[in-house]
């Protein structure tokens, strides 16, 4: 039982990071109906932005500290938001009137570009991520060992999910996002500048991925330019599991896939830990292709 709870805590922490990434996939899909395969690499850039920001922030505020950690995370989120907006503007927007396949393949190109530009500029060898926040482990709460980092990861994720929900449900731009995802033509008839909403969506999704990158690096402090590939693919599985285009679904899918993976990693089948997300993807596509919370979509022409 203790071991189960221990793994559950580990799994939830990992899963919440996948959830943050999965939200970006699902938001972009909801609005443009394509999978942005470069999204996992934005997550990687988020971690590296934190890596380079940390020493500069440390010159201003004492590090490691909660304040310093938050400043680094906010900075990395801002950098990735701009990056996400630029990627859409430069690589995807010119293809908006073309086929979905063209944009999809372009996103794979952007993904490779970020990965190998990352190797060129950051170096291919793993780098040690600096300590942003004070870290200690809280031993023996009923035999459990919880690290303060895990609690921070869960807390920050929860806070970001609440902020995201507020933006999407209560603000004008959020309502415009939901309108656009339902019917872009009708949205533009309302006077909504669809380009602005699309840019905002990319910015928002990329900022969440950056937060995920920072949290990931706090938990697993070795970062490298290819670190976004696996979490990115797993988060994509999570978005499909929850129902692509559905925000609570993406969060739920991330938590489920992350938790299942950690349980597999802790069992005798640990060799299969990276495969399990894809096994779940295949399973959900066979059983309920619309995902756990997704609605059956009527494909509009």
């Amino acid at each position: 039982m203790t071991e189960f709870l221990q793994q559950l805590i580990n799994g939830l922490a990992f899963g919440s990071i996948l959830a943050l990434i999965a939200l970006g996939y699902t938001m972009v899909y909801g609005i443009l109906r394509f999978i942005n395969f470069a999204h996992g690499d934005v997550f990687m850039i988020g971690a590296f932005a934190g890596f380079y920001l940390a020493p500069r922030v440390a010159a201003l505020v004492p590090m490691p500290s909660i304040l310093g950690g938050l400043i680094v995370m906010a900075g990395s989120m801002a950098i990735c938001a701009i990056l996400g907006i630029l990627i859409e503007r430069i690589a995807y927007r010119p293809l908006r009137r073309g086929t979905k396949l063209a944009v999809l393949i372009t996103s794979i190109g952007v993904s490779l570009f970020l990965e190998y530009a990352g190797q060129k500029f950051f170096g291919a060898a793993p780098r040690r991520f600096p300590a942003l926040i004070p870290s200690y482990s809280i031993e023996n709460i009923g035999g459990l060992s919880v690290s303060s980092n895990q609690i921070i990861v869960l807390g920050v994720t929860l806070a970001l999910l609440i902020v995201l929900r507020f933006i999407v449900q209560k603000t004008k731009i959020g309502t415009a996002m939901r309108a656009l995802s339902f019917n872009p033509e009708a949205a533009s008839l309302m006077g909504i500048n669809t380009d602005v909403v699309i840019s905002f969506t990319f910015g928002l999704g990329s900022a969440l991925a950056a937060a995920g990158g920072i949290l990931f690096a706090i938990l697993y402090p070795a970062i490298d330019p290819l670190m976004g590939i696996m979490p990115g693919l797993k988060a994509f599985c999570a978005a499909v599991l929850g129902g692509i285009g559905n925000l609570p679904g993406a969060a739920l899918g991330g938590v489920i896939i992350g938790t299942v993976e950690i349980f597999v990693a802790g069992s005798k089948y640990s060799t299969y830990r990276d495969a399990i997300a894809f096994a779940i993807l295949i399973l959900i596509l066979l059983v309920k292709p619309s995902g756990l919370l997704g609605k059956k979509d009527i494909e509009k022409v």
Partner: protein
């Protein structure tokens, strides 16, 4: 108020409008009638900026607005209740109406518009918290028109407001259209399959065939025209 001159629009490889010219005077209801594929919806979509014309002019208050993006057109005071209603079925009635006033910065004016819309369609007020997808067809049409009015347009484009509605509801909707025109002095360009009804409530009419105007005139005259009678009014 609106003057379309020699508008040519392609829909993919098909030429949908071959030099269409129509004129919509202020405070009037003007209707476009014609068979499927005559170019009625294409005309409205082009005015709204959803389609880009190949050539021709759309003069609105003296300025050529042809080819501007849709959100600029709305900003100029032209809004549309599109064919098939296109309400946001995933949002509440209230959110749908709020989106209609998307460009309106003044909260006071938005509040005024809500009041006016709810006076016009009390049913929408009762259902404001409801998800729009759960409304009946007639209510959805009311919502589509109410939403288009929320931007305080000076020209309202209505595409097939009677589509898929029971005759009694069609009557209600058309009474509302007349009311909007009479009481608010709003200029309306109406596209309708139901030519009888459309010609009954409007001041001027244009008959479209394969992307061109073949007949035009005051509706009183059009309704007496034997050609119109046999082709569009059921003899």
């Amino acid at each position: 108020m609106l003057e379309i001159k020699n508008l040519v629009v392609n829909y993919g490889a098909i030429v949908a409008l071959h030099g269409l010219s129509i004129s919509v005077p202020a405070r009037k209801i003007v209707t476009l009638i014609g068979a499927n594929g005559a170019g009625k919806t294409t005309t409205l979509k082009t005015i709204s900026g959803l389609l880009k014309p190949v050539s021709g002019e759309i003069l609105y208050a003296g300025k050529n607005i042809a080819g501007l993006p849709p959100h600029h057109i709305v900003g100029q005071g032209i809004s549309q209740a599109p064919e098939g209603r296109m309400i946001f079925a995933n949002l509440t009635v209230l959110e749908n109406l709020q989106l209609g006033a998307y460009l309106q910065k003044s909260r006071d004016l938005v509040r005024q518009e809500f009041e006016r819309t709810f006076t016009l369609f009390p049913r929408l007020k009762e259902r404001q918290k409801q998800i729009a997808g759960t409304l009946s067809g007639g209510e959805q049409q009311m919502l589509a028109i109410g939403r288009a009015l929320m931007s305080r347009p000076r020209l309202l484009l209505l595409d097939e407001p009677s589509l898929g509605l029971a005759p009694l509801l069609v009557k209600t909707i058309f009474e509302k259209i007349v009311e909007i025109n009479r009481e608010q002095g709003l200029t309306i360009l109406l596209v309708e399959q139901n030519a009888n009804l459309a010609l009954e409530i409007s001041h001027f009419g244009y008959v479209l065939e394969t992307g061109k105007v073949v007949l035009e005139g005051e509706t009183r005259e059009l309704r007496q025209n034997p050609k119109v009678k046999s082709a569009y009014l059921g003899g």
